[in-house]
């Protein structure tokens, strides 16, 4: 009894000191003051059953009062990379989303960095394009300056420094792969600037689906055909099981001295229903 009294006093004083807005913000962040429910309340909740829309009503009330909802960014993508016998294979799906809408059914997510280095990008499309373009130009200037082929670690350091400087606000999650004088390399770069060096990697919303395929089927010393087949499987796993990924599969095979950009290597989502009459609408409709 005594405890309950203290509890409600604490609650009241907190609400008097802070404004209603802050209290609402606290609620949204789940830092609710602890309330001891009376026995009547507990029974009431159990008797109703089913989904409780109380929180939805509270959220609506808060939106009406002018509280901005927390924003979320969907990295609708599946991008993968793996190291095989002779080099690196990168793969990506081709769907670009704008919230729930597919903005581009066949976009290019495998970006050119250098003749021997390519980079897949997940996250905000503008950020991945801009950051890969910028570092690609930087690498070209560096090639002129040093008269040497670019190295993957150079691209890695430039990208990670850039992303760290922006403290995660440049939302670009990248899979960087290439072959240079020191051999084949594959790296993942996260928006906050941390990097990992791995034999196989996946990023984006479909990364879990793709990683499941890699973890069961990857082994060292894959041949080129095996590698391409495995990458296709992983991307297809993302395309079919992740809502943020879809359409076609792009592949890029990089080996010593050579690269093959296989745009739309696989088209597992063809347009099935095409009206035989064609689409013609009479004028002024």
């Amino acid at each position: 009894m005594g405890m309950k009294g203290n509890g409600s006093n604490h609650e009241c004083s907190r609400e008097r000191v802070k404004g209603e807005e802050e209290a609402a913000a606290e609620l949204l962040l789940c830092r609710e003051p602890i309330r001891i429910m009376s026995k009547g309340e507990v029974d009431y909740v159990h008797a109703r059953g089913g989904f409780s829309f109380d929180s939805c009503r509270r959220n609506e009330m808060l939106l009406n009062k002018g509280l901005k909802p927390s924003s979320f960014l969907k990295t609708g993508t599946t991008i993968v990379g793996l190291i095989f016998q002779d080099g690196v294979i990168l793969g990506a799906d081709t769907r670009a989303t704008e919230g729930p809408i597919v903005a581009d059914k066949n976009c290019e997510k495998i970006h050119y960095m250098a003749p021997n280095i390519y980079c897949c990008g997940a996250g905000t499309a503008a950020d991945t394009e801009a950051v890969t373009d910028t570092i690609s130009s930087h690498l070209k200037l560096h090639r002129y300056h040093t008269a040497r082929e670019s190295r993957v670690v150079t691209a890695l350091t430039l990208l990670k420094s850039h992303l760290f400087r922006y403290q995660g606000h440049v939302s670009a999650a990248l899979v960087l792969g290439g072959v240079d004088v020191t051999g084949p390399h594959l790296h993942t770069i996260y928006p906050h600037g941390s990097t990992d060096s791995l034999p196989f990697a996946t990023m984006g919303s479909g990364s879990l689906a793709a990683m499941a395929v890699f973890e069961s089927k990857y082994h060292e010393g894959l041949s080129r055909d095996e590698g391409v087949k495995l990458v296709c499987e992983a991307i297809c796993s993302g395309i079919f099981n992740d809502l943020g990924s879809g359409s076609n599969v792009d592949i890029c095979v990089i080996t010593k001295g050579q690269k093959e950009y296989l745009r739309n290597h696989l088209l597992p989502n063809p347009r099935t229903y095409i009206s035989s009459k064609g689409y013609s609408f009479s004028k002024k409709t």
Binding site: G168, T188, Y190, H192, G193, S194, D196, L198
Partner: protein
């Protein structure tokens, strides 16, 4: 599941001195929220030939700090004309950690060997304190190791004893801490040089018995009810 959560290394890192050098040990799990982003990461990073660090906390912050310190140490080595000491390396880490304490979230253990002081371990936790210790533990899994080390650590261990202690400790932490896992990596640094070792996860002891498989709850319910616990 938040794949945009910053990469953090819920970790177990350990540094132990022994008679003649130091042994550094770490697990290998890097997590992004609840997803394991890298199950085989290398948290023991080289600064110079004779100084290595164990990184914990934010992956990005600790990588950047180690890159900067490696660069400064390299410059320092050139200017000094001889290998840098562990104390200098640790102090460079401390200066970065302390002066940027509001922006960084990283706990680091610096360990190495130099000809003046021998094997030394310096712990540099979150705020940027520097503390020289005979052994140091860090990361989320270290909570489970304080009691273990109080009992198991002793002065003047041999190289193999120290390494076995480190491997046992990391595997104990992996058993109890969800944010630690994968493999155990160790680095031994002494006057002869550096040795890197690798202990795969499935070879580590589980520290608990496998539970008996149960076909149906009815089997348990029909058995006699358990005795109430006695204090």
């Amino acid at each position: 599941m938040d794949l945009n959560a910053p990469h953090s290394m819920g970790t177990t890192i350990i540094g132990v001195t022994y008679d003649g050098g130091v042994v550094l040990g770490a697990d290998s799990r890097t997590s992004t929220g609840m997803y394991v982003a890298n199950r085989a990461s290398d948290k023991i990073t080289q600064l110079t030939d004779n100084v290595y660090i164990c990184r914990s906390g934010s992956a990005a912050d600790s990588q950047i700090v180690s890159d900067y310190v490696r660069y400064f140490l390299h410059q320092h080595t050139i200017q000094l004309g001889q290998p840098a000491t562990v104390k200098v390396a640790a102090n460079l880490v401390r200066l970065l950690s302390y002066n940027n304490k509001n922006m960084l979230q990283t706990g680091i253990i610096v360990g190495g060997w130099d000809k003046y002081e021998g094997g030394k371990i310096y712990g540099i936790p979150l705020g940027g304190t520097i503390i020289e210790q005979p052994f140091a533990i860090g990361g989320s899994g270290s909570s489970y190791l304080y009691g273990f080390f109080d009992q198991a650590w002793k002065e003047g261990m041999s190289k193999d004893e120290a390494e076995q202690l480190v491997v046992k400790a990391v595997s104990l932490a992996i058993a109890r801490d969800g944010a630690s896992g994968g493999v155990v990596r160790t680095v031994i640094i002494n006057s002869d040089g550096v040795t890197r070792n690798f202990y795969p996860g499935d070879k580590l002891p589980l520290w608990h018995e496998e539970l008996e498989p149960q076909n149906s709850l009815l089997d348990i319910l029909s058995a006699a009810s358990p005795e109430p616990m006695n204090i």
